[in-house]
Symmetry: C2
Subunit: 339 residues, 2 copies
């Protein structure tokens, strides 16, 4: 492939789809042609991008003719149906859904962590590469460099997850419910079963028989696959909080080897994709608003775990934009690795 690729975006009208366009523009991702695909409902809708107006096309079996690269974010069932069709048509698919993440032979990639797992894949040949779950990516960008330094034995993670993880309609529901509560109306629940405004709840993904929900199990299983290592023990509690588009995570790490907090801070300062906000003097640490609209994972509250005397424990608090590094940005970075 010497010329710029023909790029298709599947699910372009969704929250992540729209973010794909922003990331492609901001990173000046090269493309010779752009196809904006969505469901029949959105077909025909005009979308202006880089000064040119495109018409959204309905996603069909024939949509991938001539396409080199497709970024999918239209939900698991659309991916299951159309990603293999695209692959068979010679398209390199980067899929943001959970459909193929745990499939053997399909790389699950965080470019800062395991780019080597996709080094055999290039544009010009059909393939599927999976984009991990947002919470997994936001956790692994900062935890992996520490894991390399001191080997993570066990992690205890609690999340503070934004509306955007449940899509654009969930963001609107948070906004609309907030208005309703502020004027004394009963908030209307459509996307979530419970009031979201001025409230929080256990993540809405399906529960497993072991008492963990799907989101929590993804963080565990995807970490093992991305690290190619099933030994680290992980327990997570995933919670939806009334924040728009950036997740936060409180992360407790247990290591094989001692790791001083100052060494950890230096490791994180040098690591790719990370901005430190760790200012104890002015009590300034990462917030979702710091991360919103930005590429990096913001990391702070870096401290040796006071519940241990051996320096083999560390606490951190991180935040990352769910739509960018948690989804669209990571997918485009995967595509960049194939250019």
């Amino acid at each position: 492939m010497s010329s710029a690729p023909c790029v298709a975006i599947v699910g372009v009208t969704g929250a992540v789809g729209q973010e794909f366009l922003r990331v492609i523009e901001q990173r000046n991702f090269p493309f010779s042609e752009l196809r904006l695909l969505a469901s029949a409902r959105s077909a025909g809708k005009p979308l202006t991008f880089k000064g040119k107006t495109y018409k959204v096309e309905e996603l069909k079996d024939t949509s991938f003719k001539g396409v080199d690269l497709a970024l999918f974010s239209a939900g698991g069932s659309i991916s299951k149906q159309y990603a293999p069709i695209a692959k068979d048509a010679g398209v390199a698919v980067v899929d943001n859904s959970s459909a193929f993440r745990m499939t053997d032979g399909i790389p699950l990639i965080v470019p800062e962590v395991n780019p080597q797992d996709m080094k055999h894949l290039k544009l010009g040949k059909g393939c599927i590469i999976a984009n991990p779950n947002c919470s997994t990516i936001i956790m692994l960008v900062p935890v992996t460099p520490l894991h390399r330094a001191a080997t993570v034995k066990r992690m205890v993670v609690s999340t503070y997850q934004a509306a955007s993880g449940a899509g654009y309609a969930a963001m609107m529901e948070l906004e609309e419910q907030s208005r309703q509560v502020l004027v004394g109306q009963t908030p209307v629940c459509k996307i979530f079963k419970q009031q979201y405004a001025f409230n929080l709840f256990s993540h809405n993904s399906d529960m497993q028989p072991n008492g963990y929900n799907q989101e929590e199990m993804k963080m565990l299983k995807e970490t093992h696959k991305i690290w190619s290592d099933n030994k680290p023990r992980i327990t997570t509690t995933c919670v939806r909080v009334p924040v728009m588009r950036a997740h936060a995570e409180s992360i407790n790490l247990e290591f094989e080897k001692p790791l001083d907090e100052n060494d950890a801070r230096e490791i994180l300062r040098k690591a790719p994709g990370i901005t430190l906000i760790d200012d104890r003097a002015s009590n300034r640490f990462p917030t979702p608003l710091d991360a919103s609209g930005n590429d990096d994972i913001y990391v702070g509250r870096i401290r040796n775990d006071i519940s241990r005397d051996d320096k083999k424990g560390l606490d951190l608090f991180v935040s990352g934009d769910q739509l960018r590094k948690g989804a669209a940005l990571n997918a485009v970075q995967i595509a960049e690795l194939m250019l």
Copy 2:
């Protein structure tokens, strides 16, 4: 003391002060006389309670004459100044501030946990009893019965704390900022240094040199005092979330002995002050709105920690009203133990 006590409320115009009145009314707490005390700024303000109108009086050295019981919630410096004066005047003081919590000889009480630590104290004799930090109370009501069953070795806790913990003005700031954000205005920060609406941040209490903030250190030290046991290791991460008046906590427990999740659930079902919401089938677990305005600590997500094979670990998610069990209710329950 045969007749009902003369009761003073110090800081009656604050969020906890107002909740003291509600709890006293709802529990039909006996009183022969009620004195509503606050700063000079609020003096003269009329307050209607149980159909009678009271005038708020300015808190002075002479305010405690004839008072049997005083409930204080006017901040640490007011407590430091006036609680000893009240005690010397023969008043039994229940203090909601942090002023005396760690003072030797002053009991720190959660009635469901350590009522024995105040059994030598009765109305009619001057004393000070400290009410623990809200996050500590909300954690210990559910964790103590599990600790008694299997002995907590280590806890990793992340909090989701409401506005009310920072007072009435903080609740108003959250509401006002939410309105501002929803109409596209820049939110005004007065109580907190950072935007609170649709955001969250590390707890605003002062940071210690060890990288933990005061709130986190309170949860550790107060637990040791309340349990009369310094052995359990505790690390906490305290976070302020845009919720009005109930805290939530994600709690990971490591035990000396194995504890099956079903046994844990039965223990919690029978424990005082707890309501279980642990419905995996319909993904329904405790939320701050469940707890708001209610007395119990709501407990759910009870599951054996998947990061361990020995059943010596458990995860829970709890929520409790910060103004009630986290403050006013617990203080009134302490007072009831002295009746």
